[in-house]
Amino acid sequence: MQVHDGSAQLVSAPENVEVIHRFLGTAKPASLSRSALETLTIVAYRQPVTRPEIEAVRGVNSDRAVHTLVSRGLIEERGRRDTMGKPSEYATTFSFLEYFGLRSLDELPALPDNGASGATPTDLGLRS
């Protein structure tokens, strides 16, 4: 069972992915590029996050990566930050949990020690 943002859904177990793809006659989705993966990780751990905040972590323009992730349904707009320019806030979706076979955001790997030792998404103030 996957739990996200107060909703739950039943899904197949990640270890059955090969069987299900064979049954449906579908191919595995294309892997994410390095920059998309970087951007997705930032959104997953810092959500809700704005594009300038993503760029502040990555140090590069992230327009294209954010667009790719939105079009693949892995992240979505979750309203606007009440600050100058009213930038869009992004957060992960159920498809994000499905793509990585996670049960909830709590299963994201803990961050390494850099002052916030072993911080999980919940520790960072994220909703489970």
Partner: protein, 245 residues
């Protein structure tokens, strides 16, 4: 994205290469990237949507709108996918050092590797998950929307009328129908033919009246300019002489 209801939409069956099932399952697979949008036969899907609509006994405007929106969305997704896209790496412009915090990026590097290792361990959720369709323009005035809604309701409740292939009355049928109505003894007001008829039906009935006037089988009366035209049956003797002539 594609939004659809359970009723009606799930009853639309698609038969495509490598897929046989309901439209909502198929669109769910596409929306979740379980089926590559590159392989979606948009023309076939649209043709089967249209076939489903025309085979229905009544035109469901809600369903028709949803099917058309789904076709358009598939076409947009496929077009966007087939267009040459710059890679994310090409799009990366370095930002000034003052807004860049490398320590935070370093702290996330382990997490990036962990997520990368989990790629391909997918789980499959419900296929028919509704996804939100973004509004492309601001809503129009409430009065206009209300009028449009009433119009749609009226059209949906109207007796069966196929819209895919517009039917029309042939001239011979219009002539015989007019003769039958006039022979029953009453005069016919031409406005009667313009009420629920299409424009082409009205033209056909007008030509039928002209034809009968030419044959002197009917005569018409119009009291004043733009008043109703009343069609009256001529006497049988006049009809006989006209036929003999």
């Amino acid at each position: 994205m594609i939004e659809h209801r359970d009723s009606g939409f799930s009853m639309c069956q698609l038969s495509l290469p490598g897929f046989d099932g309901s439209a909502d399952s198929y669109l769910g697979l596409v929306a979740q990237h379980k089926v590559s949008v590159e392989l979606v036969p948009v023309a076939d899907v649209t043709k089967q949507f249209l076939s489903h609509l025309t085979d229905s006994e009544r035109l469901d405007l809600h369903l028709a709108g949803e099917l058309m929106a789904a076709s358009a969305r598939l076409m947009a997704m496929k077009s966007a996918h087939l267009l040459l896209q710059p890679s994310e790496e090409e799009d990366q412009e370095p930002l000034p050092a003052r807004v860049f915090d490398p320590t935070e990026r370093d702290s996330l590097s382990g997490a990036i590797e962990s997520l990368s290792a989990r790629e391909g361990q997918e789980s499959f959720g419900p296929f028919a998950t509704s996804t939100e369709m973004k509004r492309q323009s601001e809503p129009r005035s409430p009065a206009l929307l209300k009028r449009a809604w009433h119009e749609l309701q009226t059209r949906a409740a109207a007796p069966e009328r196929r819209v895919a292939v517009p039917g029309f009355v042939r001239l011979e049928v219009a002539v015989s129908g007019l003769i039958r109505a006039l022979r029953s003894g009453s005069a016919v007001v031409f406005r009667h033919f313009t009420g629920d008829s299409s424009r082409i039906d009205t033209v056909m009935h007008f030509m039928a009246v002209l034809e009968l006037v030419r044959q002197r089988r009917v005569h018409t009366v119009q009291e004043e300019l733009f008043a109703d035209i009343t069609v009256l049956w001529a006497s049988d003797s006049a009809e006989t002489s006209a036929q003999a002539g």
